[in-house]
Amino acid sequence: MSEVLLRACDVTRRWGGLVAVDRVSLELQRGQVHAVIGTNGAGKSTLINILSGEIAPSAGTVELLGRDVSAWSQPRRAQAGLGRSYQRTTIYPEFSVFENCRLAAQARLQRPWAWWERADRCVAGNDAALAAVRRTGLFDVLDRTAGLLSHGQKRQLEIAMCLATAPQVLLLDEPLAGMGAEETDRMLELLAELKAGHAILLVEHDMDAVFRIADRITVMVNGSVLASGEPQAVRANPEVQAAYLGGH
């Protein structure tokens, strides 16, 4: 069960004098939700950006499915099985829910030279999109323009778009932000379901949710790792309590 899908070693990112991420190492295993918590500005989103290849690290390496991908571009990493969601919803608001997912699925089957083939006739792409829409509970709003969805549905759509690309590793940046209690429950159920086949990195502020779902927790403060381990151990850690959890 301890299949490591993504490994970061001493990942560091400096912006001039500021060290946003300072020698962070972590492992994501299939079947686990690894939560990264920390105050605003602790470097969580920067860490996701480095892991997904959106920004280059100043130092350190990233390994995906056993291969060193430190020099790979973001699209190449995505092709290799790395999916991510954004803290600020990043979808195609003008397209339908289905087309959002279909276009994401297309990334796996690009065939850009086949200019005479209709994109919406690609059975594999349509099926992958449909499966992702079903899985995330968006089937009823399949044809709705994505920009008109509720906030919670948009967050679900973002996960659906990730799933349509058939990733192995999911990096989720605050998927629960701004969600109501019911929506949160549904999203946590989905994550629990997805856990079996994926390695999930979850950046989240909702501590109740984190302790409900996470198998491992890493606490970041000022860009570096303060503590990392099983939820109970992290919760009991006095340093973590002083720095972040407070009375939790």
């Binding site: 995505a78 990043t90 297309q106 083939e117």
Partner: protein
Amino acid sequence: MSAGARSSGLLAPAERGKALFVVLAFAALALYPLAAGQFGIDLVTKIMIYAIFALSLELLVGTTGLVCFGHAALFGIGAYAVVKLSPEYEAGSVWWLLPASIGAASLYALFMGSLSLRTRGAYFIMVTLAFAQMAYYVVHDTPLGGGTDGIYLNVKPVVAVGGRTLLDLDDPKTFYGVTLACLALVFVFLAVLLRSRFGRALAGIKVNEQRMRATGFETYPYKLAAFVVSGALAGLAGFLFAVKDAYVNPELLSWHLSGSVLIMIILGGLGHLRGALIGAFAFALLQEFFKSEAIWGAFAKHWHLGLGLTIIACVALLPRGLVDVPGQWRARLTGRGAPGGAGSGAGA
């Protein structure tokens, strides 16, 4: 399986309306020479060439979201290529001159695109302008381009197979037909292209390039391919323009023309192929109208003023372009703002 069923349905009413409009427009263009005199045929031929040029830019601006302000360079290079490569005292062959013309424009598009696509937004606009100005000054100020006076094409190229001339491009009506066929081919090509995976990827890049990259699309090669295809089509338009007038001058590469073609597609409505078509006709006909001394008398020499004010009014009143006129009417008739709300009951 149900996914397949979703996409194979009949055209939605809105789609049918658009298709009908395009078919009627092309039918009208096909019948036009039967009724028109020489001036009319010459004018509409010129407008159709501009329409091809506008369609080529629509692929970049309307579809991919790349505002290119140097497209005239590609048009002009296509035009100059015919004249420079034609033999001086005999007719060149279209079979070689047309690919050469399109090839030259594509090659410059590849050069221009590969460097300018490293920038974004306003910088992209400025860098494409700079590349166009470079080409302009090469043509304008070096012996290569023949300077301000331009160059004449002594003998128009011929369409011949085995020594037999199939089409006489010197005949205005034949040339009208050839231009119309090119316009129809370009339109259909782009319509098919936009439905393909490539076209959908370009649409995705326009809406959200960051998400495209995160999903696994290397967006740079896509944008570069769009730039080169667009350049090739602009080269085709340039070829037709040079053959039509048998004359080229540096103004074909000037930023005025780059601006005009941008105005055409904005006027017609960005994001729609028929917008480029409508825009080219609207722009050229407005220009003819304000230039007409029969209507305006001596004031006709200030035609820029009338044209400019009309364009400003159009853009202010129809921010989505002339293609949105039916939508606006519908909204006004039903008293509703949302175009999707009205008239969609039958489809649902």
